[in-house]
Amino acid sequence: MAVAQAAEQGVAQRIKGEVERAIQRSIKGLEYLASPAPAVGLTPKDIIYRRGTLNLYHYRPLCDDVYRMPLLLVMATTNKAYVFDLAPGQSLIEFLLRQGYDVFVIDWDPPRPDEKGLGFEDYVLDFIPSCIQRVQERSETDDVTLIGYCMGGVLSAMYAALHADGPVKNLAFFTTPTDWSQMKLMTNWTDRRYFDVDRLVDSLGIIPSDVVAAGFDMQRPTQRVVGNIRLWDNMWNDQFVKSYRMFERWGNDTLPLAGEYFRQIVKELLWDNKLVNGGLKLGGQVVDLRNIKVPVLHITAEHDHLVPQDCAKALIANVGSDDKEEVMLKGGHVSLVAGPNAIKRMWPKLDQWLGARCT
């Protein structure tokens, strides 16, 4: 009898809770529709270099004493860098600044029509070296630690392989695709028997952000629908909604790509897998990952739907460094870098690794 009464009370509590949530959903749903987009990227910074699609930021230090070696983060060319700086308390940049690092970030704007001819050479042999030079001048330090995220990591790896004796003394990567033959969906969609990349690039010039975003969305076809359903289900939860809006804003901020750059991604990486198979030439020099001898850290995500583990693990396997480490953490391609799991897992690991090597 007492057990039945307790069970009935439990059910009554659950029903009451669901009714309250349903009311909250309606009220907060209206607020959601009426409110502006969340503010992101709020950590104070200076834009110290800008050229077309390229931006270089220097974040204002939060400590009086910092590590000797500055960090230069290279964002993926498909998205904006404010994923590193979503909100106070949820910002990798803020975390690194508080831990005593001098932080610079390469961010991208949509390439202009006159930039449709930008290719790997421009990013690897012009943009990155120009930014490194400015980091050196600003920090009055020759040595730099380079950190690349996704395609930013690919470009960083290419740069480091071509400048083995250069100023980059440490390399860290987040979810960087290396063995592109393991990106099964992308390689299938760009099958050279059916995909005429030359015609696409020559007719469009700049590959629209819609095309890039569709490529990401199709890798998890139900994501948008389920995401909206979950948003409605959790509309009563302010924290969930705030986080959802920030990530949704970032996800919708996909960037277009310079046509020539896109052509090279398809031909050199997706078709010929040259980072692993060899033969990639930039500026007349062969990009060989074995030339990388500096300490390397590669943090990968266990549930990464964009860069599968088989694609990412080839980076550590191919670099020539003695001090190299791959760490696979729980999370996805984006949540590895930002979000609650990143705060608990990735950030402390990155800090521990960098702190020992940036002195």
């Binding site: 069970a7 009935e8 439990g10 059910v11 659950r14 669901e18 200076d46 834009i47 110290i48 270099y49 800008r50 050229r51 077309g52 204002r60 230090p61 400590c63 009086d64 004493d65 910092v66 590590y67 000797r68 005593g100 001098d102 202009r112 029509p113 006159d114 600003r138 920090s139 330090t141 099964k184 969906l185 299938n188 969609w189 099958d191 028997r193 059916y194 995909f195 005429d196 015609r199 696409l200 007719s203 199709m218 890798q219 998890r220 076809p221 139900t222 994501q223 389920v226 359903i229 979950r230 289900d233 739907h305 003695d322 001090d323 521990q352 702190g355 020992a356 090597r357 002195t359």
Partner: protein, 136 residues
């Protein structure tokens, strides 16, 4: 804990949603791995692009006939605007650098660069340096 006589329908529904999401993603991605899908998708994309080109050409002809600017006319103006913006940005950055007298100006206080990692990490770093040095 959920009472089996009175199941938590909210959680049941959420579990169902999660399973549907996983199944949907799995089915979708499996279907999209096939060469047939690639052929179909690329043919559809090519056809769509061809139609867009035809429409764009027709539109350009009509606009020209009506003495109205075409997309390429507007693109040319936008490119000139971008070039002007670029020059302004370069001038602004140059002025800012000149006024700031380097990084120490404009509120930027140069920190010292002597930071060390916490003691435990320093020991680990020293061990690592020794072991890597032994391999060279």
């Amino acid at each position: 804990m959920s009472d089996p006589a009175f199941p938590d329908f909210g959680n049941l529904w959420r579990d169902l949603l999660r399973q549907w999401e996983d199944a949907g993603n799995s089915l979708g991605t499996d279907a999209m791995k096939s060469p047939e899908f690639s052929k179909f998708m690329n043919q559809a994309t090519s056809s769509s692009a061809a139609l867009q080109r035809v429409f764009a050409d027709l539109s350009a002809k009509y606009l020209a006939a009506l003495n109205l600017p075409t997309k390429s006319d507007i693109s040319a103006i936008i490119e000139r605007l971008h070039a002007i913006e670029k020059r302004i940005e370069e001038m602004q950055l140059a002025m800012a650098e000149g006024q700031s007298q380097g990084p120490a100006g404009r509120g930027f206080v140069k920190p010292t660069r002597n930071r060390q990692p916490p003691a435990g990490d320093r020991v680990a770093a020293a061990d690592r340096a020794a072991s890597v040095g032994g391999l060279i």
